[in-house]
Symmetry: C2
Subunit: 146 residues, 2 copies
DNA sequence: TATTGTTATACTCTATAACTATA
DNA sequence: TATAGTTATAGAGTATAACAATA
């Protein structure tokens, strides 16, 4: 619906810059009280798996837009930490669905909570700006409601 | 200036999701006519080095918020492709400054141009939204003017 | 002594290609 | 034949620790 303009390039540049600058601070540094120290990718996966909502590995690969073999490794590491579990789907024995363990669910909630904290630079924005940002990003990601 | 709210967490989640979804598409897939196929990190570094504006490696490490040893590797790879050059600073012989080669400068311009193209999802936003996004991101990154 | 950059090491992330098991 | 997931392999990204050169 829009047109490419000078702001297009500028926005992307800033987006990348922001992401690179923040990725090391959060949400990976979720360690703290928890022993675990998850990588950004692992944290991201943990976010994408919602409690009581089994997620096929193929869907995860799509969302991450990465190769399926990559997902195997990510899941291996998260599973070895006891955060998620693989389960063979009943309807199609080829697919494996992922679900959070109790520990995984706990850590995920902890992450979400932490992301809302004051330390997050995003909280420096006014509420109006935050709302606007969410609207824009939803349009970008192609999510309507969630 | 703001307060943590439900949108804070939501915004970050979307930001991460968007970045993960896009990182493989651009601007790394800048190959095309060029033989090179740069990684996202390498593209990012290329952006950060402006033509005729030598950048100390330590500054680059700060901007990327990563370890200095990491920068060594990134620069090694970009230098071996002939895109940038290391030069020992005259004022302080410990520091090395980076500058684009002619080829690097050309490729950087190509990247910037490509980012403005229609293919970029960001260009789906209205001009107003793009402008708003830039404003918000500038606040986040802590950049006033450029 | 402190700082800049490098090297050595180890682990994670990522893609490609070949494979297994299901469908 | 096609699809979901795995394995093997290779390269890139990242951090820690020890080191050299310079300040």
């Amino acid at each position: 619906m829009g047109r490419p303009g000078p702001d297009t390039s500028r926005a992307w540049q800033l987006l990348v810059k922001f992401f690179f600058a923040q990725r090391s601070h959060l949400p990976s540094s979720c360690g703290g009280e928890d022993v675990e120290q998850l990588s950004p990718a692992q944290c991201h996966v943990l976010h994408l798996i919602e409690p009581d909502r089994p997620l096929p590995m193929s869907r995860l690969a799509e969302t991450l837009s990465c190769d399926r073999s990559n997902v195997t490794g990510l899941v291996d590491r998260l599973e070895s930490r006891g955060l998620i579990q693989r389960r063979t789907s009943a309807s199609d024995r080829r697919v494996k669905v992922l679900q959070l363990t109790r520990e995984g669910s706990r850590l995920r909630a902890h992450l979400l909570k932490r992301m809302t904290g004051r330390s997050l630079p995003l909280s420096r924005l006014s509420l109006d700006q935050q709302r606007t940002l969410v609207t824009i990003l939803e349009a970008l990601v192609g999510e309507k409601e969630r």
